[in-house]
Symmetry: C2
Subunit: 328 residues, 2 copies
């Protein structure tokens, strides 16, 4: 029920995941709405529906998850909790999803807060950014845990040995930044089992300089959306530039399909793969603007992660923050 293009693109993505990827998908939401959307694909017999009376609107935040215990996302989490589903995929309100996930699935032992990990499309392997928006306020201890969650994810899901970790801030020297990152810098240097590579800046997000970038969810979300907007802007400017002269137009005609392909890849790679780490259950967050293909890819990712037991294995590696009992 969630996402800018719900229900049709979401349902189309689910049907694609079932037919083309061989996955088992359950749709959770209004049976009438979902049945009709499935009927458009002649798929009413292929994709089961689980009833949920309500749905969180895109603009509903964390509190709505308490007010609506029967929202589609709450019911989906409940299916995972009961073992009737292996993972949740949603393109709905991120704040609602995070809050509902924390409430229904609970954090893994020792985890202060779940964090959203996004795989940025760097070469030759992705850089994982977290937290990309689950926690608008963070404590220094959380940034250490986000680094641990990200490093474990990089090892288990991307087979990166001993991943390097960078701290997102506004200068390369340890004393640069705000209070939060200066303290986090000290804690990261002292943390055992982490290969801390020091501070990184906004322009390092896409250079592949480090394997994991840790930051608070406010900064991470602003940075991620800035990147998203800038890539879109660069391609729009490019299109404008290449139509300015007929010589350039000729060149553009030759390249058009290739450029479209590239833009598509950037979009899909960067935003199809956000995972909420630190919960007792696999939760994949599809971009709010996802169309069928993005949803289908998110279902694939969710199935791969839950099939490999990745999220559970990440939880086993978390070192509880020493200060946790006192502070939280």
């Amino acid at each position: 029920m969630g996402g800018d293009h719900a229900p049709h693109e979401i349902v189309a993505g689910a049907v694609h995941a079932v037919r083309e990827r061989g996955l088992s998908v359950v749709l959770v939401g209004s049976p009438r709405v979902l049945y009709e959307a499935l009927a458009d694909h002649d798929a009413t017999k292929e994709v089961p529906i689980v009833r949920a009376e309500e749905a969180l609107a895109m603009d509903e935040g964390a509190l709505a998850s308490l007010r609506r215990p029967r929202s589609s996302i709450a019911v989906a989490c409940h299916l995972v909790r009961r073992g009737d589903a292996s993972a949740v995929v949603s393109a709905g309100s991120t704040a609602g999803l995070v809050a509902t996930g924390r409430l229904r699935l609970k954090a893994q032992p020792g985890v202060l807060r779940p964090a959203i990990a996004v795989a940025l499309p760097t070469h030759p392997r992705p850089t994982l950014l977290l937290d990309a928006g689950a926690n608008a306020e963070a404590k220094p201890e959380m940034l250490v845990q986000f680094a641990q969650l990200g490093a474990a994810y990089a090892e288990l899901a991307y087979e990166i040995d001993s991943p390097s970790v960078g701290l997102l801030t506004i200068g390369s020297e340890p004393e640069k930044g705000n209070k939060l990152v200066r303290r986090a810098h000290e804690l990261l240097q002292a943390a055992s089992g982490l290969r801390f590579a020091g501070n990184v800046e906004g322009h390092d997000l896409l250079t592949g300089k480090v394997d994991v970038i840790t930051t608070d969810g406010f900064t991470g979300n602003v940075a991620l959306k800035s990147v998203e907007g800038a890539v879109r802007y660069a391609f729009a400017e490019l299109r404008a530039a290449v139509s300015e002269s007929s010589l350039a137009r000729l060149g553009a005609a030759l390249q058009r399909s290739r450029i479209r392909e590239l833009r598509h890849r950037l979009d899909a790679e960067a935003y199809g793969g956000a995972v909420l780490l630190g919960l007792n259950g696999t939760v994949v967050i599809a971009h709010g603007s996802s169309k069928a293909q993005g949803i289908s890819a998110a279902c694939r990712l969710a199935a791969d992660l839950s099939g490999a037991g990745t999220v559970a294995a990440i939880g086993d590696r978390i070192v509880p923050a020493h200060r946790a009992p006192r502070l939280w």
Copy 2:
């Protein structure tokens, strides 16, 4: 003396500003170093040198400005203070420049903190982002002042009538974001003389949705550098994509010069024009990686702003924060 390509590119930019733009430029720093660099351009008689014993290193921060009262940037500020120069241009350590500017030029009456304003290359007119990095920690009242500084700058320097102001955060609803932006949202709604358009997100930086975007210097700097890195990334990916096939190569050959031109424009427009607002004096911050052309453009901007009395006029419009006497 400051910048990744000092002294040669800085001096070359100064010479260009003098010869091609008809400006009067004074170089401040080590006479020996600067004289030699000027000699490379046969310009020792065209560009006067003012001696400064020391220079802040790129990695030196705010404290260095106290330790080094005879740094080149301190001497340059002193020239402005005494009326011997109209403006300061520097590509050196931003933290050092901001701290030295505050110490030597002082904030304008009622200004809590100076802020860095960057003109983003949106169409048809720029969006001003501030604070782009002067204050890593900010209070909600400062975000209101940054909005006022930005709105005044938009009106006076870009002739934008009644500029709209957006607050950078991670969701469009007033209650989204962290404590700082939620409180700033309330204050901005209540502020008289500001056309507050509500929250904006990272992907709105380059869409021209609002004329001024206010944020703390930490978030603003991360967002700006994320944009910078993403634009660079998009063009690098594009170059890689268009050389993959010979058909595409042909198209690329036709377009190459146009793409280079576009990339250059994005770089120059976005980062040649950072201004430190809120001080008793015009201070233009050139990008650390500036080459001669960027320095020359920064000199042009500095001359235009000081010639028009823009920075002083902005100060006259600042409404002192009501809470200032109590909190600061």
